[in-house]
Symmetry: C2
Subunit: 153 residues, 2 copies
DNA sequence: CATGAAAAGAACGCAAC
DNA sequence: GTTGCGTTCTTTTCATG
């Protein structure tokens, strides 16, 4: 869909704070409630906004450990990639998963409780998936920035 | 803070869909509105829930390209790391940034419009930051899974 | 797009148990 | 924790210009 200037500003606001009342958004954008309301409904219907979520602060939770791991498969055939896709979707510890260019590896962002939980996950769940040939884990020392905002220019 | 079983279920729901009405949550957890409401307010006050956001579907936006890049600094001294932290926070293309174990590199998730925009960002903004010695870019071919949920066990 | 009115729903506060 | 009530805010719909 084509986004005009108002769309971009509006989506930026909703990505920052989805609880901003429509009337507040309207006054910030020098419009009235009606057009704002209709645009938001359009985003939701078209799936541009896929959902509204609460974002947790991991540092406020007792023990949360974040690990990035790059996973290589034995085969780069499409069906091997797709079966890995599906398997990963059902593993809650895998928060994000991307197929990367270059070596055709997967990059996974994994959230676990502690090092022991990571070991259980890595050797038990992840290595057990079909076609997995190599796993390289790198641990996050510090979360410098984490936002869910997709910048729209 | 210590989280009981109800907290975990409640946080899971809010991470999935923050617009679920309190009365619906209450009935799902076999409780009434009051305790649900009070727990949520506590999460917000203590910062466990840091914010509520709308999540966009990048595939519905014209051109969105995701790149992971690992950035090495010339110095690993604390002030060099911290000044990089601060600089990165103000760059909208950098959606996430982590200090990684091992080689003490930073891992950045970058969202741009297209390859040309990435080049502008990488050579212009990123390489221009103080102390940056090396940048390795890997492009995302396919977004297999992306959630903002922190699994709580 | 603006404006205003009206109805429905949700959040919020309070009191009593 | 529950139940109930009442107020306020927001969302939602609708009609007019």
């Amino acid at each position: 869909m084509k986004l005009d200037d108002t769309d971009k500003k509006l989506l930026a606001i909703l990505q920052e704070d989805s609880k901003t009342p429509i009337k507040d958004i309207a006054s910030r954008l020098n419009l009235t409630k009606t057009p704002i309301y209709e645009r938001i409904k359009r985003y939701e219907q078209e799936g541009i906004i896929s959902k509204y979520v609460g974002v947790l602060d991991p540092s406020k939770l007792d023990t949360v450990m974040v690990v990035f791991c790059s996973v290589s498969l034995e085969s780069q055939k499409l069906d091997a990639l797709e079966s890995f896709d599906k398997a990963v979707a059902d593993i809650p510890e895998v928060v994000e998963c991307y197929l990367m260019g270059g070596a055709n590896d997967f990059l996974l962002k994994v959230v676990v409780k502690d090092l022991q939980a990571y070991h259980t996950f890595s050797s038990g769940k992840l290595a057990a998936l079909p076609n997995v040939s190599q796993i390289k884990s790198t641990f996050v020392l510090n979360e410098v920035k984490r936002s869910t905002v997709i910048p729209i220019f």
